[in-house]
C-alpha cells in the first residue's frame, strides 16, 4: 500500500465511493461515513454533525502527515420557505458547512506536514441558487465564502485548498431529493427528474466517476491558490 494517505468523508455516497475508487491506487485511504451498507463498512463510522463524530475521525489519523482530504459528505432536503424548520436548517448547515470547515482546521497540522491538499465538495448550488433548496444553498454558498478567505492562510502553510462544484450528479442523494420533492408536489419522480435534466445543456446527469476524475485533477494541481472547478454540464453558465 502507498505511504501517501488520504481521508474521504461520505465515502459510501455516490461521489465519495467514486473518489475512493479513483485515489486508492496511489493512496492508503481512510474512509468515513455515517452509514454502512451494500456490505461495506467505512474505516470510521460516525456522525460529522456532532463534535464527537468529528473527533472520532481525527483520532483515527493520529499525528502522521495527510496528503489528501476529500470532504464528500453532505445532505440535501428540499423544502419551500414556509416549511423550512429551524432544526433542519441547523442540521444541513452543521453537516454541509460546519463539519467541513472544522475538519480542515482539525487536519491542518497533518496536511501541512505533507504539503497536502483539501478538496471540498461544494456544489453548483454554492454558485447560483436553486429553488426550494434555501438551506442547502446557504450551506454551500457559505463554503464558497469561507474558502475564498481561508485558502491564502492555508497556502502559507503549504496546504492547497480546492473547491469542486458539481452540477446535478446521478447519486442516491440527488435521486432521493428528487423523489422527496416529487412526493411533496404530488408528482412522479421520473417526470420531475426528466424536467430537471432538461435544464442541463449536456442533456444528462453527470456520473460520480466524472466528478471523481475532476477531484483527482484538482488534487494534483500544484498551484497554491484556491482553484474552483464547476462541472455542471453547462448548467451554471445558462442561469
Amino acid at each position: 500500500m502507498s505511504d501517501r494517505r488520504a481521508i474521504v468523508t461520505g465515502a459510501l455516497g455516490g461521489i465519495g465511493a467514486a473518489v475512493v475508487d479513483n485515489v486508492s491506487a496511489d493512496h492508503g485511504v481512510i474512509t468515513h461515513d455515517l452509514r454502512a451498507h451494500h456490505g461495506c463498512d467505512p474505516s470510521v463510522r460516525s456522525d460529522l454533525a456532532q463534535p464527537a463524530g468529528r473527533r472520532a475521525l481525527v483520532r483515527t489519523l493520529g499525528d502522521g502527515p495527510l496528503d489528501l482530504l476529500v470532504a464528500a459528505h453532505g445532505m440535501a432536503v428540499p423544502a419551500p420557505l414556509p416549511d423550512l424548520r429551524a432544526d433542519r436548517v441547523r442540521q444541513i448547515m452543521r453537516v454541509n458547512f460546519e463539519a467541513v470547515t472544522e475538519l480542515v482546521e482539525a487536519f491542518r497540522p497533518q496536511l501541512s506536514a505533507a504539503g497536502g491538499c483539501a478538496v471540498v465538495i461544494a456544489s453548483q448550488a454554492g454558485l447560483t441558487g436553486e429553488a426550494n433548496f434555501a438551506a442547502y444553498c446557504a450551506s454551500k454558498f457559505a463554503l464558497v465564502g469561507w474558502a475564498r478567505t481561508t485558502a491564502e492562510p492555508l497556502a502559507s502553510e503549504g496546504i492547497r485548498l480546492r473547491l469542486m462544484c458539481p452540477g446535478a450528479v446521478d447519486t442516491s442523494m440527488f435521486r432521493g431529493a428528487i423523489a422527496r420533492w416529487a412526493t411533496d408536489m404530488g408528482g412522479k419522480p421520473e417526470e420531475v427528474l426528466r424536467q430537471r435534466v432538461t435544464q442541463i445543456p449536456r442533456g444528462r446527469l453527470a456520473t460520480p466517476a466524472e466528478i471523481a476524475a475532476g477531484i483527482r485533477y484538482l488534487a494534483r494541481l500544484a498551484t497554491p491558490e484556491l482553484v474552483v472547478l464547476n462541472q455542471s454540464g453547462g448548467e451554471t453558465f445558462t442561469r
Binding site: L81, R90, N132, W146
Partner: protein
C-alpha cells in the same frame, strides 16, 4: 415601518434606515454578533435566524394585492473581529445563497427580497441602498453598501 432585528438593537442612528424604507416594506436588520460571527457554528445560528425572520416577515407582510416586500440588511459591526473575515464572508455568501434560492422559488408578485451587505459605520451608505432597493430596484437585488473591513 415594520422592523425585525436579528442579533442586537439597531445601531445608533439606525432609525434613519426606517425613514428610507418604502411604504409597506419590512426591514430585517442583522447586527451585532449575529452579523460578526466568530465560528462556523455562529454562522449557522445567524442563518437559522435569517430564515426564521424571512418566514415571519413574509407571513406578516404578505397581502393578496401586493405580496410581501422585504429588505434584508446585514450590518457588519465596526470594529469587526480581526480574525473573523472567513466567517463574515461565509455569512454574506450564505445570505446571498438563501435569497438566490428564494428568487427562483417565488415570483416577485408573491415575495420580493432585496439585500444590503454593509457596515454599521456606514449607515448613510446603507440608508441610500435601502432607499434604492425598496423603491426602485424591483426584487431580488443584492446591494453592497460601502464596506469597512480590516
Amino acid at each position: 415601518m415594520a422592523l425585525r432585528t436579528i442579533g442586537a438593537q439597531p445601531p445608533p442612528g439606525g432609525d434613519r434606515l426606517g425613514t428610507a424604507l418604502g411604504d409597506g416594506v419590512t426591514l430585517i436588520i442583522v447586527t451585532g454578533g449575529a452579523a460578526d460571527p466568530r465560528s462556523a457554528g455562529q454562522v449557522t445560528e445567524t442563518v437559522v435566524e435569517v430564515v426564521e425572520g424571512l418566514q415571519a416577515a413574509s407571513a406578516d407582510a404578505a397581502t393578496e394585492e401586493r405580496g410581501a416586500d422585504i429588505v434584508l440588511a446585514v450590518l457588519t459591526p465596526n470594529p469587526a473581529a480581526p480574525d473573523g473575515r472567513a466567517w463574515r464572508d461565509a455569512l454574506d455568501e450564505a445570505v446571498i445563497g438563501i435569497t438566490q434560492s428564494l428568487a427562483r422559488e417565488y415570483v416577485p408578485d408573491i415575495l420580493r427580497i432585496n439585500t444590503v451587505l454593509g457596515a454599521e459605520a456606514d449607515l448613510e451608505g446603507v440608508s441610500d441602498s435601502v432607499d434604492f432597493l425598496s423603491h426602485e430596484a424591483g426584487a431580488f437585488t443584492v446591494g453592497a453598501a460601502l464596506e469597512i473591513r480590516p
